[in-house]
Symmetry: C2
Subunit: 237 residues, 2 copies
């Protein structure tokens, strides 16, 4: 019987912060012993590994870069070390791999090949925003990015608001960060004044900002979250 390696899902920080503030020791111990990684971004991954375990020899690292431009035919090459019995790490550019990043395809392939997948604890903006929103955490949907088209975006927002009321379900979504301020304008214009809106920005960073207010109360504030990664959550009760 051939022994397979294990695929460790290794979280990273959400930006410039001390990795050991948001990562448990297990992440450090895992990086200590793993040399083969599938990563979203080569440079960021090397930086993360160095920050968590400076003693690691960068020259011994074998990195496979997985992003939107990676061909599905390359995936099998990426997991070759696993099939040869070596443990590997999967790493996203920020936060937890496999959620809202290209990593899930590798995890899927691992399951197909009977490879054990081990998720490690780390910061997830989706989950931390959900925790801190005070909204219904018994039922929630992460909807990913909003549509780019103006009209489609507006109807998506209206759709999420309706869903949140019909299903008593918190609705999470994200926007390309440089469009955040425009999105807030749209949200305050489109949503019902009594709808709850949570804006969760720079989660786990020193500039973290998380606030849940009714739309009518947001209208009284001036807020600038241009280019800062943000999770939006709405719930109409």
């Amino acid at each position: 019987m051939k022994l397979l390696g294990k695929l460790y899902l290794i979280p990273t920080t959400m930006g410039e912060s001390d990795p050991m503030d948001v990562l448990p020791q297990t992440v450090r111990r895992t990086i200590e012993v793993i040399d083969h990684y599938i990563v979203e971004n080569d440079k960021t991954a090397r930086k993360s590994i160095k920050a968590v375990y400076p003693e690691k020899k960068q020259s011994e690292l074998v990195l496979f870069t997985l992003n939107k431009r990676t061909e599905p035919s390359e995936h099998l090459d990426f997991i070759k070390p696993l099939l040869e019995g070596k443990n590997m790490g999967l790493m996203s550019e920020a936060g937890c791999p496999g959620v809202a990043d290209p990593g899930a395809v590798i995890v899927k392939l691992a399951h197909e090949k009977g490879i054990q997948v081990v998720p490690l604890v780390g910061p997830s903006s989706i989950l931390l925003a959900m925790m801190a929103s005070g909204m219904n955490g018994q039922s929630f949907t992460f909807n990913g990015y909003l549509p780019i088209d103006k009209d489609e975006k507006k109807s998506a927002i209206r759709h999420f608001e309706r869903l949140s009321q019909d299903k008593n379900q918190s609705q999470l979504f994200i926007e390309t960060p440089y469009r955040n301020n425009k999105l807030i304008e749209d949200l305050l214009q489109i949503l019902n004044p009594s709808t709850h809106l949570c804006i969760a920005t720079d989660i786990t960073l020193p500039t973290e900002f998380i606030k849940t207010l009714k739309v009518s109360d947001w209208k009284k504030l001036k807020i600038d979250i241009d280019k800062r990664p943000t999770i939006f959550i709405i719930h109409k009760i």
Copy 2:
């Protein structure tokens, strides 16, 4: 101007495991300085605090117990220390507070009172299962518990399967652990043989079991997860 305390959302382990394997140092440092807690279970919370920071004097802890039987009128009493400028911790029985537990009502109240909410990183079975499932992490719904009624449960399963296909959205749900084996029977009977099913059990514990297979492949296996906490995810492609 009155200075308000901050509400820290403090995660705990998912069962018998070394807390520092799944919690970052920040959790330890936070518990070191906080004496006032709102907790789901008094006994479990004291045990968690002791495990993370044994030097903490248990006699100095002030715990408010929040569960399904707590009256909404008590909530304002619970957050009094925050209003008086003391930092407080919110703690679930296991995992991350505010998601799939009663804690969200306190977070909601905190936002209403202008109190800053600080979520700390820790293990979430929902998120770790999602990461490790290899299913679509760009769009997913956590649906909470399945209905207890047999017929309602069956139609809920059918509904989730349909939704997962129509919206290309992973559907997560949970069941009371002693009904897990029965649920697997139901799932294998009701779902389409080509639907993907992830069973994620005892996440972060030494007995962790996470596997994604097509329903037709699950039928070939014998699996016993009686009374073990489990997240189920389905996706029909």
